[in-house]
Subunit: 227 residues, 2 copies
Amino acid sequence: MGQLIHFSICPFSRTARLLLAEYGIDASLAEEKPWEWRAPFLAVNPGGNLPVLLLDNAAICGITPITEYLFETNPFAADNVVPELYPEEPLAKAETRRMSDWFHQKFHAEVWSYLAYERIENPFVHRHPPNPEAIRAAMANMHNHMAYLSRLLEERYWIGGDYMSMADLAAAAHLSCLDFLGDITWEKAPLVKNWYARIKSRPSFRPILKDSFPGIVPPAHYTNLDF
Amino acid sequence: MGQLIHFSICPFSRTARLLLAEYGIDASLAEEKPWEWRAPFLAVNPGGNLPVLLLDNAAICGITPITEYLFETNPFAADNVVPELYPEEPLAKAETRRMSDWFHQKFHAEVWSYLAYERIENPFVHRHPPNPEAIRAAMANMHNHMAYLSRLLEERYWIGGDYMSMADLAAAAHLSCLDFLGDITWEKAPLVKNWYARIKSRPSFRPILKDSFPGIVPPAHYTNLDF
């Protein structure tokens, strides 16, 4: 089914790849570097954000439209072969969406947007040294997010509730990007580590853990399923 | 139906109010100042973002979860009494979601987040003079957004397509906040002005145009339906 335009170290793109893999939907991948703002890409998606799902007759732009579209149209959703990543019950579904948005919006704005710029774009694209103040602010914010996730996981087995859902894919996609950069001290958040080990060992995660970026060496535990 | 926790000059809150009004759903309003981070509010919504829809048995946090929840559960949606704010066809719905997200994420990040801070929070809460550089950057970004909307409205009558949709409510909510601050030069974007006049004259808009904020006087055209 179509092609996913993505970037390997982009949490929104990774969420879409996890979703497609969990649903057993085969889409080819085309990588787009988000800082290049290439005209042919902007012609497809004027917003310039990733990912984009290219279908025969349309382009679906952005992680939320892609997620909702796949749930509305995925022919596999009616079977019980694939995990039901959105609960049926509307309030439970709203909680899944709250926690997906938590990562796609709040975590992104307070943590990832800084780290992506300072650890990837600034040093490797603009060849500027990273701004240590921005990194410190992002890391301080990250500790607050990890503390919230730890409290949440005292009460529930998965991020969105009692069952694995879209919220887990979103959370794992975002944390996997930070982990790639070596920015997570897992020992400080054992409940989050335990949850991440569970989701990281799913087959949908394997291709993501193989991604690389020239000049960045992920920590040894990054690809280790029993880290 | 429940209570909406909102802030009067918040585009996400205004989107929810327009949606509730268009659907004929009666919810009481409770105002929350987003910069206060009050503990009782954070106990309801740990993310601290607005709006929140309080139901008897749950709190639905954030504009996207609220929007999708209302579409999934609204008992009026099956009638033809209320406008169908999401098209039935999945690709058309994806386009509606793309343009809603455009405002809730891209426009917010590039324009409103700066203006809200520099024109409201900085002068009226922290009693600091606004940063003219941040305002200039936001205004430059806004011109790009207005140019994109103008191109879009050459091809379609509404923001999301041929019919009024959720995307129009989101766009109008965001632009109405800028207009309240007097930051839009409508004469430069006649197609956008024409569209805004159409949506602004809907009954759902009336309560919003009555909002005030101590110390800010909106321009004369703000409440004028034939501006």
